[in-house]
Assembly symmetry: D2
Homo-oligomer: 474 residues x 4
């Protein structure tokens, strides 16, 4: 276990993972994941996860992998090394015979715990570290991979059972960093006037589509992870909560709808905004989503596939909670609570298929909604959906006893919950109970929104804003 202070400035998703590390080392006790692993399946999954990381980094030059374009992002080579450090520290250091670290100082450089004295400064300095270079990191990965395979091969069954939980946690950890790697390099490339392109052409978009509504009855429902398969601790415990009848938009809000909001003075009307949000609008000059730029009257959007005119049929992405909330207010609606979202997802959609966003494995942007289905569309794998819920512990969540629970819940302050996963989320990584979280002002994650309405008796049937009406159920 690691001593010293915790990287307080770390990005939420990163922290959430590492925090989980400390609490989920005893799967037998917590029952938080149930997959039965053999040496073969474990090694095979290990290879698969690890290969995907390198595949994502492959298009990037050593220089690309070095840059940190703002404190919230990390260099690509840091991600590649950090997830490797995780296996070296939590698996090899604990279980390898005659363990010796690959390089002493890597512990310091790639440990998101390390930032003892000045944590925020240190995180913001990841882009100041030129060495080890991208190639050196590749060597480090190769070394750890070989040792991991050796270890898995030589474990007896009892040890394997004990260790599989930690290794599986490492898989989910690395997947989170795969998503972050893409979000981060998207920002790195965005600040370059040469407008570099990460990957080939994007998919053709679907046709614009009318927003429908899906009614949900509510009542005394249960949310939280139900114990089948892996989860992070913040999805627990499953618990009861009461919901008045409500409705959810059957798809995400589109760029076209966002342009309507802008055309109607969305960024000029203080009355639509939360006070803190309005402070950002005026203080930082927000006029459009984060990656939009207007050239000669046309709005363009920076994507990993290049810079293109904004496509009105695609979901709007890279908007903050403040912007999502202002949009909902403008539309006469609101954002869903996380309980409403999860209950609807469980009831009406079920879990995402393991290959939910395999379809866009090479398409790094949200897709058009497709034709109406009579149910909820775009729940998984397009963009993280802001909810109206603050990120707080579930009833009954409390720190585990002893040092293992030292940091539980530490980030449950000042952030908002997002649900669903985005186009950069690895296939199979998300689920209905998954709780992501970011500060209300964050714009660089791939975020979007879905509207909600109702939630108190008598409200559900009142259409408020003619611009967004219709509905499947009626």
């Amino acid at each position: 276990m690691v001593r010293g202070s915790w990287d307080a400035a770390a990005r939420p998703a990163e922290q959430e993972v590492t925090r989980s590390v400390t609490t989920q080392l005893s799967p037998a006790t917590t029952g938080r994941w149930t997959d039965h692993w053999t040496a073969d399946t474990l090694a095979s999954r290990y290879d698969e996860i690890r290969a995907r990381t390198e595949q994502l980094a492959a298009p990037l030059s050593p220089e690309d992998q070095t840059v940190q374009s703002m404190p919230d992002v990390s260099p690509t080579k840091w991600h590649r090394a950090h997830v490797t450090w995780f296996f070296e520290t939590f698996v090899l250091a604990e279980h390898e015979q005659r363990f010796a670290p690959y390089q002493d100082k890597y512990w310091f450089l790639f440990n998101s715990y390390y930032e003892a004295v000045g944590p925020r400064y240190a995180r913001a300095e990841r882009g100041h570290i030129s060495r080890p270079g991208a190639h050196d990191v590749g060597d480090y990965r190769g070394n750890v991979d070989a040792r991991m395979r050796d270890l898995i091969d030589t474990l007896d069954e009892g040890s394997l059972d004990k260790l599989a939980g930690t290794i599986e946690l490492g898989f989910h950890h690395e997947q989170q960093h795969q998503e972050l790697l893409l979000m981060d390099i998207k920002h790195v490339l965005s600040v370059n006037p040469l407008q570099p392109v990460y990957a080939g052409s994007p998919d053709p978009a679907g046709a614009p589509d009318r927003l429908g509504w899906v009614d949900v009855e509510g009542g005394l429902v249960e949310i939280g992870h139900d114990g089948a398969g892996f989860s992070f601790d913040n999805e627990l415990p499953r618990h009861r909560t009461f919901l008045e009848p409500y409705r959810l938009g059957d798809r995400l809000i589109t760029n076209g709808e966002w342009l309507d909001f802008m055309a109607d003075g969305g960024y000029d009307r203080a009355e639509l905004w939360l006070s803190d949000g309005w402070g950002r609008v005026t203080g930082e000059g927000w006029r459009a989503p984060f990656y939009w730029q207007q050239v000669d009257g046309t709005w363009f959007e920076h994507t990993l596939h290049g810079t293109f005119p904004v496509d009105p049929s695609l979901p709007v992405t890279h908007v903050s909670h403040y912007e999502a909330d202002a949009y909902a207010t403008w539309a006469g609606k609101r954002l869903p609570t996380e309980a409403e979202w999860e209950h609807a997802a469980q009831t009406l959609a079920g879990e995402p298929a393991p290959d939910a966003n395999l379809a866009n494995a090479d398409t790094f942007h949200a897709r058009a909604a497709g034709p109406p289905t009579g149910g909820l569309r775009q729940l998984f794998g397009d963009c993280w959906e802001w909810t109206s819920s603050a990120y707080l512990p579930y009833p009954g969540f409390h720190p585990a006893e002893g040092a293992i629970g030292e940091y539980n819940g530490k980030f449950m302050s000042g952030q908002m919950v997002l649900r669903g996963g985005c186009a950069l989320t690895p296939p199979g990584h998300t689920r209905a109970s998954y709780r992501n979280f970011f500060p209300a002002g964050a714009r660089w994650p791939m975020t979007g929104l879905r509207l909600a309405d109702g939630g108190a008796s008598g409200d559900v049937n009142g259409g408020v804003n003619g611009a967004i009406t219709g509905g499947i159920e009626r």
Copy 2:
């Protein structure tokens, strides 16, 4: 000619009130208050409220009334003028025949709505305005009082019914500023090395007392204002919510218990703190509650009655949400949700008597708990109790239509809910459904904490920390 704009990043409680103004002008529609007013009772109440403000300001010199010792506080004379401006603007300007403002520029100076060019800057500049002086503000108050009495005397019954709601809102608004005036001058006097005293000697304190626990059954309960008497809009609508069985501490945490926390490294152990809280502890050097100072090994506390050694039997006050949360974590407990607090208060304690804190009308600090009662002690009028709930809209709350709802919900972001009222709250001002709110780092309000436990099946009976055990019910 005006140099710079005035005001407007008003403190939460202030905003909450003024926001209410715009939505509660039609009591007949909303039914949010039910008192039947006659010209006599209205005038009498008006005089009573207005006199209390002047009584609170009386011990303060013109210089005292001018100072703004940090951006969060406002000068005394600004409070006295602002509440007067409220009646002039929302009552006289609307209903007085041949209305003319007392002084044109007072609208600008004493209007907390004015958020034009640089609102935050302006608010922080209230202490830069030497004129009108304290005496001039007295003249302004006298003028408006005379006109208000004339107006009330001459209204016919229909107009009175229509206007009474706005005037009553002015009463509650002025009461909020009475509390703020005291909180603010407490800070102003605290920064003065001469250690000025606002008022005479404090009460003798009671003896230290053992913390007991009160069990609450929970279930599908209702919270929110029930429609009898006045409320602010954020207390509405009354709605159902589900609570697992839980228990509440039967009194507030004391200074003595806080000293135990400090002695056990409370401010040195990162593992007890929310991440943002730990950032404040290290960044701002927090070592004790806000108004405590250690001299020669003894802790002293600044109060409106002077600076005294910390009394271990009194409730701890002036701690932030972060500190309250860290304490609860240290104690193996948690803070209550606002629903738990309100449901318990309604069920077990009822509304505070109209004279709830009359007893300490001249005692401007929280009192000792007194002997155990078998129920909840210190619910109203000692210190605002931090809850674990973010300040968010109740289900079914949404902005009123039209301009009247412009600011609804605007501050429902980034703040935490507090309940109960404090020793500086005017008699009769608080109630079980009253929702106060401050940022999690605020320390200058008179805040404290009560512990909670349980909240999920099986947890209630497990005593966690021997330091805080026992309990009335067992």
Copy 3:
């Protein structure tokens, strides 16, 4: 018990004075002043100086005297107390029999030396101190005045000789604060939308006037104080310096000329500005001198006499060094060096008459130049003239040995020299060798400019800018 430290990032002029205190306690040694004082003349001068301070504060309410409208200014009552503290500390505490301080904590509150923990913060907090009030400060002054008169009356001749130097230093110190008191209250009143007026109507202005030039031969000249009468240490030693022939404008630049600069894009053309200056222009939005505001197309100027349309015949005031330098560049000229200014003043103008600005004892703004005189006009008592010289020690200046020299030269970094005195400078306070200094960006002091030209052979006769031509000598 004290909350936080007080003071100490005192304003330059303040520091310069107090620094002088420590080096000039032995006039016999340094010969820096030569006035022969008797008990009668000393007491009479003491009364005169002290009465003028109270006279300047008389128009100001207790609230006016309390406000600190930005960190650079100090409250009026602080000035009144600080100069009193000077006599109590450096005279009474050293020479009074049975000395006891008037109030222990006043030493802390009114001592600009105290730089312990957080000096800059403390200075910026002078406006947070409501007590002692203005009346209490009056009591303090009365007490010290009585004791000072007693002391002067009872000294024998030897002691008087020894003490007179310190007391005379206190006179000059108090005069500096008289000037600061006015500069500071000018700013305090400027931020008030009620536009308070400090004093009655200003003088009628003279007619606009053509700028002439005065040629000076230069050569190996001497500058620095010549030993007759009082000086501060930074005016020493008198020393040789070499000047090429040069010329000086015979009067200050006027508001009218400044309007021409503005009309010609003065604040829009980066090429006219020093780099740091352009950073301020763009970063802080400078568009005109500090106290100017444009209303409906007309420029108005805040003065101690009220807010009036800008008078083109008066000297421009409240411009920074950056603005003065940009103006000179625009005009094809430059600012004079301090050696050029002093040499010309000595040679062509002599010392100011003791009553140099008595004429405007009740006129707190710079006056029009008056008709050409064939020499230098407006040298003393209109506005402090920016020079092109950095504030550095004269050759041969070095710290005195021992603690007495602790602060010598401490501020000789990062500031520019100004010469001449301004309309707020007390009569008799300034002289040809007087070196004032402020950071290049300071705008709240009463500053202006005079042009120079030449300074290298062949340059003097070349008229550069037709807008400013003519000249007495040609």
Copy 4:
């Protein structure tokens, strides 16, 4: 010529060069350089200068060349591209037939003028630009080199004469960036915990040596460039100035002497420091020179050759002006003025030999003084020596007429002059009249100090501090 605003945040040395560009395009007019160039000598010198840049970058990986470790430093690949852009813009674009830029956007990226809208932000973002990569920059250099050689080969004699001045300016510009490249990469490598080494072992140091003094008579002397060979405009015009007799230390202050200063409380005693310097000491925690670190009681110094124990016989380097001034005060001495330094260098040392620091072409640190010579040692090529002179225009310096002089003198504000050159300065680049300049708080340049004394009659012969005595001349 380039429009738009100037990069205000650019480092002094960089700006000084580019500013020179605009004024020195007419060498025939200004006579500022006199070398006679032929096509052969010009091409040969071009190749030599250009090759050295690539040689300096050769040890650095693509990742090393990408990092910007603080706003003051620029990435290596930016330097390599920027000096290339200079030749493309000021030579090829003006004189090449059928000119077309190598890459349109390179103008934006490698133009230190480019930072139109937000200059400071842009400069600080050089490290955010991953592409073009280090290899791409090599291609750019090759392309421009080929075109430059073609151009030089095809010029007739008249065109060559006209163009040689600009090309020679490009040589000096590239040399300045060679020095900056090394200063910058020194910082980049210093922040890496892996402690990368730039180059092989350092020289063995000489033995410690006693400080001697060299007396200089002074009088009415001349300083400034005398017109033979190249100079920058800020070295002009040569002019008279008066100096009292003075003396200079015959060598630089050593690390050993600096350790004495530290041991005597140098960083703890406010009385030794300029006020602004003391603010940095306390605000930024300065305890030793910039690149020193204490490990287990021993001081280590980061160099381009690795991290070594501090060698007491070497000159102290990487100290700010504030530190140099505090040291001199502690030693009872002072820093020299720039006029004193230049006059002594001209009189007693002459110009540096063209190969002055060839000896340390592969040694990137200051060398020990070597044995006493009876004259001034270490004048050129060890470390830039802080003077007590503010960076201001020489008498008679004024902006050239027309656009060409737009930016003259722009940085003559808020900086101090340094003289002599340092171990990173290319051979042949410095001279006695060379004026370098940095803000008083800069520590990352390779700076040091030499003491001065005297300067006013009677002072020269008074030894002040026994710790530094002796002297060659006595």
